[in-house]
Amino acid sequence: MTTLAVTPRLPAVLSVARVRAGIEVRQFLRERDAVVFVLIYPVMMLVIFATVFGKSPIALPGGAGTVGFAQYFLPGMIATGAVLSSFQSLAVTIAVERDDGTLKRLRATPAPAAAYFLGKVAQVVTVTVTQIVLLLAVAHFVYDVALPTSADRWATFAWVLLLGTAAGAVCGVGFSSVPRSGRSAAAVVTPVVLVLQFISGVFFQVDQLPSWLRQVGEVFPLAWLAHGMRSVFLPDDARALEPSGSWQHGLTAVVLGAWLVAGLVLGLRTFRWRRRDDG
């Protein structure tokens, strides 16, 4: 104790973040529920839908040919996966961690808050990337979906995914304060995402939804994430199937960006290290 003549320096935020990332990724992969309902779920849905409806390609308007069902369904599943890996996963795990004392325990250590969140970011990125690689591999090798070849399209893919996942993540942090306990977290969060999936046109062709329901869906990021992803994976002519008749990249960026900012502000203002009933 008296030998501590010089005060050793605190570990850098990034080095603590790297340690947190290791813990976060391991915890996620060892939690079977999370692996099945977040990581694998979109792949499972792709396989089920593509197998059931695989023989009914979707005709493009104006005799511009057809799009295979798996190809039409893939963008929606990528969007769903991104929302599950960011929003649902964080909203549930942070609610659980607040309830079971993980956050309080961490708060008692010199680990900086930024390192905790960077650890979460690393976990979300790891899961999202794994999930998308799985989805693309299954779509391409099992259902013969042609992947985009132009750099343009991959650039669109990258920014839509990044913006959508980031917006989902900060909203997930904010939403984690809604469930009243860790036990209820999954029950509170899962239906929100499920309803969003139905009204955002990831399961059906968007033009099959009643327009008022579609408009409700268009308030939320998932619809725009799916819209953006369709612009990447569908032929350009398929934009005629979109209600607006165009890919609306500018508006997509604006809506996703707005959710990112709103989620960030809300998340920062509502974040608590302790349970509501704990002082």
Partner: protein, 300 residues
């Protein structure tokens, strides 16, 4: 009746060396005054026990000291800093073992102790810490598979791996079997011998008696008694009790001269065999003293 602790002379010196210094601490929850002018001085290197019934303000006090809760009034210095304002460097000097823990189920003992060590500037060796708490055989076991006692020892490992100067132990041995409790006590003593200041809150008076250099009894948000476990409550609270039985029933009498009293009873109350029926002389245990302190209206 409340006892205020006299502020020691030479407060300047006390300020620079005390691990914890609290003056007039106040905290209110709604209409409930949880802390009502609590004073506390904990010296460096001592094991200090905070005793008191549920709701007396123990946890509130400790969580204010740990920086988890805000206070409504009073001065608080923990390792020379105000916990409400202190930052990472201050947290690095603290170890906290919280009361209930249900977290960390999927990581292994070794993983979480190593990760936690990486949060601190000068941590202990994770292997040595795992050894010290007796979990060497469980280093590769996931936390969910540990028994209650093993989990608690892991909590302690996580609390000490950062090489804290000041360690808070909140109800550390709840649910331990007697053997595990004694092993835990040895661990606490070895930490104290290594120079760690330890603040222990506990419901077990034998634990406080076995470990604490000094103890404070908290009731209604104030310290009502302070001292070593041997002197807590003062001389009067420790007056021996002589009990005996005669034709009119069982008697219990407090006396500072039990030997003289027994001699008198031998003359007046002994049966034909020379024995006084039901004779016993007991000195109040810390538990008796404590119960007398927290329920002053009940004569014991």
């Amino acid at each position: 009746m409340t006892t205020t602790i006299p502020v020691p002379a030479g407060t300047r010196a006390a300020e620079s060396t005390a691990a914890v210094r609290v003056r007039g601490l106040r905290k209110r929850y709604g209409t409930h005054q949880a802390l009502d002018g609590l004073d506390l001085d904990i010296e460096r290197g001592e094991v200090f026990a905070i005793l008191g019934p549920n709701g007396a303000g123990k946890t509130t006090t400790v969580e204010i000291l740990e920086g988890f809760r805000s206070r409504d009034g009073g001065q608080v210095r923990v390792l020379g800093e105000d916990p409400a304002l202190a930052g990472r460097a201050w947290r690095a000097r603290l170890g906290v073992v919280l009361q209930d823990s249900r977290d960390l189920s999927e990581v292994t003992v070794g993983e979480i102790v190593r990760a936690t060590a990486a949060y601190y500037p000068a941590p202990r060796d994770p292997h040595e810490v795992i050894d010290a708490v007796g979990l060497a055989a469980k280093a590769r076991t996931r936390v969910r598979a540990l028994s209650g006692g093993q989990r608690r020892r892991l909590d302690v490992a996580l609390g000490i791996v950062g090489r804290p100067e000041l360690l808070f132990l909140d109800e550390p041995t709840t649910g331990f079997d007697p053997e595990a409790r004694h092993q835990f006590w040895d661990l606490v003593r070895s930490l104290r011998d290594g120079g760690t200041t330890i603040v222990l809150t506990t419901h077990y008076l034998d634990e406080a008696a076995a470990l604490a250099d000094r103890a404070a009894v908290v009731r209604d948000g104030k310290v009502v008694a302070l001292g070593t476990p041997e002197t807590l409550g003062g001389e009067a609270a420790r007056t021996p009790v002589v009990r005996w039985t005669d034709s009119r029933g069982t008697h219990a009498e407090r006396t500072t001269e039990p030997t003289a009293m027994v001699a008198r009873l031998m003359a007046t109350a002994a049966g034909p065999d020379g024995e006084v029926p039901g004779l016993s002389v007991t000195r109040p245990s810390l538990e008796d003293v404590y119960l007398g302190l927290i329920n002053p209206e009940e004569k014991r």
